[in-house]
């Protein structure tokens, strides 16, 4: 049913076009109603153990989702999905589950690169599940977040 080659394939790493900006991480914190001063108050954050403003943990979704979107249009994708008996597209996916592990804080100036792998492909009834694994590192090569995005596609 599925092509085991997907297990071997690594997509990316995809690097964000722009470094992380404080405006972006602040805006994310405000959008989720999380006004932790470590995310929003420069003076407060400067005196903390982080030394500057950090991004809320879930800011990880910005580079995680863009890297998964990139993997759908990757030149290596057609070969991997050739033997799948269902169509995948970013537009038709339903987001079933999400997992993140957080290793290092993200700060302004960080440049994040994310590698994507397809971890598992399986069926439940007429629904097809694809688990995408993401590994994101900063410009120093330090692991910042890992994610598993479980997506669902209809047959």
């Amino acid at each position: 049913m599925t092509n085991p080659r997907y297990k071997e394939k690594k997509f990316g790493p995809y690097k964000d076009e722009e470094a992380i900006e404080e405006d972006g991480t602040k805006k994310y914190a405000e959008a989720i109603g999380d006004l932790n001063p470590l995310y929003t108050d420069e003076e407060y954050a400067k005196k903390s153990r982080y030394g500057s403003i950090i991004a809320p943990p879930m800011y990880a979704v910005t580079y995680t989702l863009s890297s998964i979107m990139n993997c759908f249009t990757d030149s290596g994708m057609p070969e991997v999905v050739a033997d799948f008996d269902f169509e995948i597209s970013f537009e038709n996916l339903v987001h079933g589950e999400q997992e993140f592990e957080f290793f290092k804080p993200i700060k302004a100036g960080d440049e994040i690169s994310t590698e994507v792998r397809i971890l598992n492909v399986y069926k439940k009834g007429n629904l097809n599940f694809v688990d995408f694994g993401t590994t994101s590192k900063n410009q120093r090569g330090e692991l910042v977040t890992k994610g598993i995005m479980t997506t669902i596609f209809r047959s």
Binding site: K27, A31, N36, L38
Partner: protein
């Protein structure tokens, strides 16, 4: 937002922490601006109704972010949150009120594992199978 339950220095396995909050009416617009996820399911009532929903729905990842805030506020340091996992089960709508309930299920050295769920005001389970790992130090 007031967190109910024991604080980080006192929590025991089997005990619960929880928080309730209302989802702002403009939540989906603000979340799209901040995250870049402009799926019309979250912006356009007619589009969402055609997909079988009552109207535009809140981004699941935004609801997940509400859950991170419970744990990072409770732990008093964002990087103490080590892992978070959720299943998106039922839709959440702007204006709904949610309650996030997390139960400490395990403690290994300085890591506490929580199982959690998110319910709306009608008891509909928006997020199920939630799991979080929080470091006590």
């Amino acid at each position: 937002m007031e967190i109910k339950g024991k604080n980080i220095d006192e929590i025991q396995v089997g005990e619960e922490i929880s928080v309730s909050r209302e989802v702002p009416m403009n939540q989906t617009l603000h979340y799209a601006e901040a995250s870049g996820d402009w799926n019309p399911l979250h912006q356009d009532d007619d589009f969402a109704r055609a997909m079988g929903y009552e109207g535009k729905i809140v981004h699941g990842l935004c609801t997940m972010a509400y859950c991170t805030t419970l744990f990072t506020d409770w732990a008093k340091d964002p990087m103490r949150l080590k892992r978070l996992k959720v299943r998106f089960s039922e839709p959440l709508y702007p204006g709904d009120t949610i309650t996030i309930r997390a139960k400490a299920t395990k403690r290994e050295k300085d890591i506490v594992t929580f199982d959690f769920e998110v319910e709306n005001q009608e008891g509909s389970k928006v997020i199920t199978k939630g799991e979080a790992k929080v470091s006590l130090k």
